[in-house]
């Protein structure tokens, strides 16, 4: 039996010469020019979605670094306004751990984005809930920034899942 294999013009997947559609992306191999153009335009729209989603993931990753940066600022403010040595030590101890943790999550999000972002978001929420219990006024300080960071992280986590789904649909890795 002789096989004639060609590559799909859309996703480069190999196909048999008598296939009507690409089995990797659904491209109408034997379709009319109009059908193929329509397929391309739909695929383009999905590729634009994909790039938007990738941007969301990137923003979420950056917000992990932003949290680390903001923690540095709040460390300086806290450290130099602390009343005694014991408070200073406690602030230094917690800040080093938190800044280190958020930086680590930022780096980790390159390879394991879902795990890093879920962990980062959880830690961020926990810190602010505890702060709010200790001193309820802290809920309102920088609330817009807090909301923006939380929204970015949630959007980032959702986008990672959507990116996986779309990549499968478009047959790209």
């Amino acid at each position: 039996m002789e096989y004639h294999t060609n590559s799909c013009p859309c996703c480069n997947n190999k196909h048999e010469s008598d296939d009507l559609f690409c089995n990797g992306c659904g491209f109408p191999l034997k379709g009319t020019q109009q059908e193929q153009d329509f397929f391309y335009s739909e695929r383009n729209a999905k590729e634009i979605d994909l790039s938007d989603l990738n941007n969301n993931v990137e923003s979420a990753r950056k917000s992990l670094y932003w949290i680390a940066g903001l923690s540095v600022i709040s460390f300086f403010v806290g450290y130099f306004t602390a009343k005694n040595e014991q408070d200073k030590f406690a602030i230094l101890f917690t800040s080093v751990i938190l800044i280190g943790a958020f930086l680590a999550f930022g780096v980790w999000s390159k390879t394991k984005p879902t795990a890093a972002m879920i962990s980062g978001l959880s830690l961020y929420v926990i810190i602010h809930v505890i702060n709010a219990i200790v001193d309820p006024v802290t809920i309102f300080s920088g609330i817009i920034l807090k909301v923006i960071i939380i929204v970015y992280l949630i959007k980032g986590i959702r986008s990672v899942l959507e990116v996986d789904k779309l990549k499968k649909e478009l047959n790209i890795n």
């Binding site: 039996m1 196909h15 048999e16 296939d19 009507l20 559609f21 690409c22 089995n23 990797g24 992306c25 659904g26 109408p28 406690a90 101890f93 917690t94 751990i97 394991k112 879902t114 795990a115 879920i118 962990s119 959880s122 830690l123 929420v125 926990i126 809930v129 505890i130 219990i133 986590i157 959702r158 899942l161 996986d164 789904k165 499968k168 649909e169 047959n171």
Partner: protein, 254 residues
């Protein structure tokens, strides 16, 4: 003649015979991996459910932390609330979680090894934590002070510190949370996320050096053995050793 056997299935749209590996039908062009699409569409709702679970757990832990006069009855109250949450989430996803309660390859040898290692680890950790608390924060913290005033304090402490967390934290984290995450992310990520959330929920930064490795080991055992029981035994023995050491410091064991 060289024959290549490729398993064929019927297209879900035109019923033509196509290769099982096809993402799209090469005859009619319709998408084939419907199961995968269904799994993908359940990921986000799954994560939202985890978010709810996390919010309830966090509320309980923070509430427990913020109570000034934390006594024996508040300890029991929070134990019951946490146990209820664990059971609720576990049984809500009963079909996917039920198999974790079985113990398919029971091994006495493994169980004994688990017990010995967790007792040893507990003693080492207890020693280090005491040293760390003393040198860093100049404080000595003991669970037993909460339970001591009661007539049956030591027995209640064993139930509240060793038995309940072992059963219900395992049910919640290595049971419900891990199983749900496995439908959303890969095994490695599921292990890391459950371990990190487990560590966060204890709201104790200084326990970083031992609690994170401890929960990663528990998560890995749960994945490898596909049962919750080794985790429950390790967790119980670990916490029981802590209880025994504290009771023996302040009181008699029997």
């Amino acid at each position: 003649m060289e024959t290549q056997e490729i398993q064929q299935i019927e297209c879900n749209h035109c019923n033509g015979l196509i290769s099982i590996n096809n993402k799209y039908c090469n005859i009619c062009g319709k998408e084939q991996k419907k199961d995968q699409t269904l799994i993908d569409s359940r990921k986000w709702p799954g994560l939202k459910q985890i978010g709810l679970f996390f919010a309830i757990e966090l509320t309980c832990c923070v509430a427990a932390l913020s109570i000034d006069n934390f006594d024996i009855s508040t300890a029991i109250l929070f134990d019951i609330i946490m146990a209820g949450t664990a059971v609720l989430f576990f049984s809500y996803n009963w079909r996917e979680n039920a198999h974790l309660l079985k113990w398919p390859n029971f091994s006495l040898k493994k169980t004994i090894i688990c017990i010995i290692i967790s007792i040893t680890a507990s003693i080492i950790v207890q020693f280090l934590v005491e040293h760390l608390n003393h040198s860093l924060f100049n404080t000595d913290y003991s669970y037993y002070t909460i339970y001591k005033p009661h007539k049956y304090g030591k027995y209640i402490m064993i139930i509240s510190v060793a038995l309940f967390p072992a059963l219900f934290e395992e049910l919640a984290y290595r049971g419900y949370l891990m199983q749900k995450l496995l439908t959303i992310v890969d095994k490695k990520e599921a292990i890391y996320i459950t371990s990190i959330l487990f560590f966060f929920m204890h709201l104790s930064m200084t326990s970083f050096f031992w609690m994170l490795p401890f929960s990663i080991v528990l998560a890995q055992i749960r994945i490898r053995e596909n049962t919750l029981w080794y985790g429950i035994i390790i967790h119980f023995t670990f916490n029981l050793t802590v209880c025994m050491m504290e009771i023996s410091t302040f009181d008699t064991l029997i």
